[in-house]
Structure formats: C-alpha cells, structure tokens
Symmetry: C2
Subunit: 211 residues, 2 copies
C-alpha cells in the first residue's frame, strides 16, 4: 500500500473526501497512515477517529521554539515512513527541512486557479473575497506540489468553477470545494500513488494521459 499523511487545521472536509474516495476505491491502493493537526479539538480529528485512522496533534504551542516544532512534524511522518504528505487545509508554513526531504512528495490544494489569488495572505475565505472583489467569472481549485515558495510549486491538476453574481465568499468557497477540491485532491493522490505524474523542468507531466 501507498502510505499518506494528511495534515489538517480545521473541519477536515478535504480529509473526508479522501477517506470516502479510498473507501469507494476511487483512490486505489492507498492508506492514510496518520492525520496530523496543528490544533487541538478540531473536527478533522473526529473524522480520522471515525474512519479508524490515527490522529495526532502537533501544536507549535507545545514546543519551545519553531525548530523543535518543525522537527516534531518531520519526525511524525518519517517514523511512519509515508510516501506522500497531503496538506488538506493545513494553515501552517511547511518547514524547509520537510520540503527538502520530501521533494515533490508534498501536495497542497489551493482554492483558486493559480496564479490568480495565491501567495502570501491568500488563504481560506480571503481567497474568495479577493476573487469576488475583482469580479472574476471563473475561479476554481489547484492541486500542486509544495516547494519553498507560497503556492509556486508545480501544478498537478486544476479545475475552473463558475462564479455567480450573488455569491458570498462562503457560498463560493463551498461550491469550489464541492465541484473542484473534493474531486481534484483524491484524483491527484490516486495518480501519484500509481506513478502517473512526474515533474520535469518544474512542470508536471501526466504519464499515460489519465488526465
């Protein structure tokens, strides 16, 4: 089995999508080794528990400094020998030591069509607020490998989602989750688990044309 760690900070709806798609075999030959939250008491940990998956909390508050927190995070995935780290609404900057060790083995989902509305300061509802403020007719979601920049890594999958005139940030966020994030993230995991993507010159190529 291909082993993944899923890192979360909140409600865990993307985690739930992964759990469900493993269950119905849309994601094939993959198991979640661990769910790591940086926050105590989030609903994502409940979801892990219900799915029979180990859930742990690694909070910056429990460590004297950032280096110790970063090491604890890294150790948690190294100890479990995971093949892929999935950031599913994880609102913590990934340590460079982790990015170095897991080059092209960390993926993130971002709720816009990168390079629109991404980079420092664009997370959660702020992304959708910015999209509505600019008046775009399409937004969407992007799954990408994580490099040392913010949302600058190689793009694996994208999907456009229509913006409607009466959208609020919350409504748009939900539509992008349902129509894009919950589909793209499981699909990317399945593709990576089956060696169907490779990174060449900083760009993702799909092998076998599954896309």
């Amino acid at each position: 089995m291909f082993k993944i760690a899923v890192m979360v900070s909140g409600g865990g709806t993307n985690l739930q999508a992964i759990i469900d798609r493993i269950k119905d075999n849309t994601i094939r030959d993959v198991e979640i080794s661990v769910v790591i939250s940086n926050n105590e008491g989030v609903y994502a940990l409940e979801r892990a528990k219900e799915a029979g998956v180990e859930g742990i909390v690694i909070s910056p508050k429990s460590y004297d400094n950032r280096e110790e927190f970063n090491e604890a995070l890294l150790n948690a995935v190294v100890e479990r020998d995971v093949d892929l780290i999935v950031l599913a609404g994880f609102l913590v900057v990934i340590p460079e030591i982790m990015i170095d060790k897991y080059e092209n083995r960390i993926i993130n989902v971002h709720p816009s069509l990168i390079p629109s509305f991404c980079g420092t300061g664009y997370y959660g509802l702020k992304v959708h607020e910015a999209a509505l403020k600019r008046g775009v007719k399409y937004s969407g979601a992007t799954v990408h490998f994580v490099d040392k920049g913010t949302d600058t890594g190689p793009i694996i999958l994208q999907k456009p989602v229509e913006v409607k005139e009466d959208d609020t940030p919350e409504i748009l966020q939900r539509r992008i989750m349902e129509e894009a994030e919950w589909i793209l993230l499981p699909k990317a995991i399945d593709m990576i688990a089956h060696s169907e993507v490779e990174v060449v010159d900083g760009k993702v190529r799909v092998i076998g044309g599954l896309q």
Copy 2:
C-alpha cells in the same frame, strides 16, 4: 443601430469574428462604423474593405507628438458618434482623454483568465509563454471594460480553455482564440448593445441573466 469602432494592429482575426457574427445575426442591431489601425498595410484593413466597412490608419508616426496622435484617435471616434470602442488586438496604450470620455464604453479582449498573466508586459504570445512556463492546466480569455490601469477594468465575460501538455505558445494562442476570444468578444458586444450589462461598484452585473 448601435455603432462600434473596432481598433486593430495586425491580422484582425477578432475583427473577422465580429464581422461574421454581425452577418449571421449573433450580434444583433450593431454596425461597425470604422476600423482603426495604428499600422499601415495590416490584414485587418483588408478584412474591413472586404466587409464594406471604412478602414483608416492613425499612426503615431504621422504626428509630431503623442498628444496629437491621441487627439486624432479620439476625434476619429467622436466624429463618427460611436457607442462603443472595441479593442481587438490593438497594441497601443489607450489615451486617458479617450478613457475619460468613453467610461465603460471601451472593451478589450485579453487572452488569459485575468488576473492571471495580465498587466504590463503581457501581450500577444508573451501571455501564452508565461502560462506554459507556469504549467497551468487552464488558461482562457477575458473581455473587460478598459480603465486607466492595464487589464484592471471590470470583467464582462471569461471562458476557461484547457492547456495541453504538448502546447506551444502558438498552438495555445490559436485554441484560446477559437474556443474563447471569437465567442466572447461578439457576445459582449451584443450584450452591451442591448443594455444587458451594467457596472456597479467596479463590477459587471448582467441584467436579465443572459450569461
């Protein structure tokens, strides 16, 4: 009839799309009063001639300074009492005096999903080179009203277009023209001619939900 001026700099494929859609009545109740090129001898002027539309050249080279050129450009549209100015691959910065006089009555088509790959330096093939370099899976086109910024005006219509792995800038450019630009620009003209769009708080609202 609703009168438009179409401003061009080169081959005029977007002009041709407008001519064809007027002819087949996809654009209703609109006539092209004038085609203005900043360059002599471009094929767009041939297209105008073949369609029986007046074509004129207003070149910066014919004027002593920028102000005189700008005034000539403005006079050409004012004299013909046009209702809308359509930039169809017009590679000249629109004079501020024209933007002031024709507020929300100048539209432009940009070959990407704004705000991706737009702003100063992004024109023609450079847009598509940048999209391919970033490795996006979708690009597209945007029709927007022109304000004093570069590609910052209110967005009227957008359409995503898939990027394929073996695309060159030229191939992607052509696909975006065929699948988006040549559809969106005529559609925007028709909507504006029939008062189906309005600008509220810097954003476009579609009246009657034609979109």
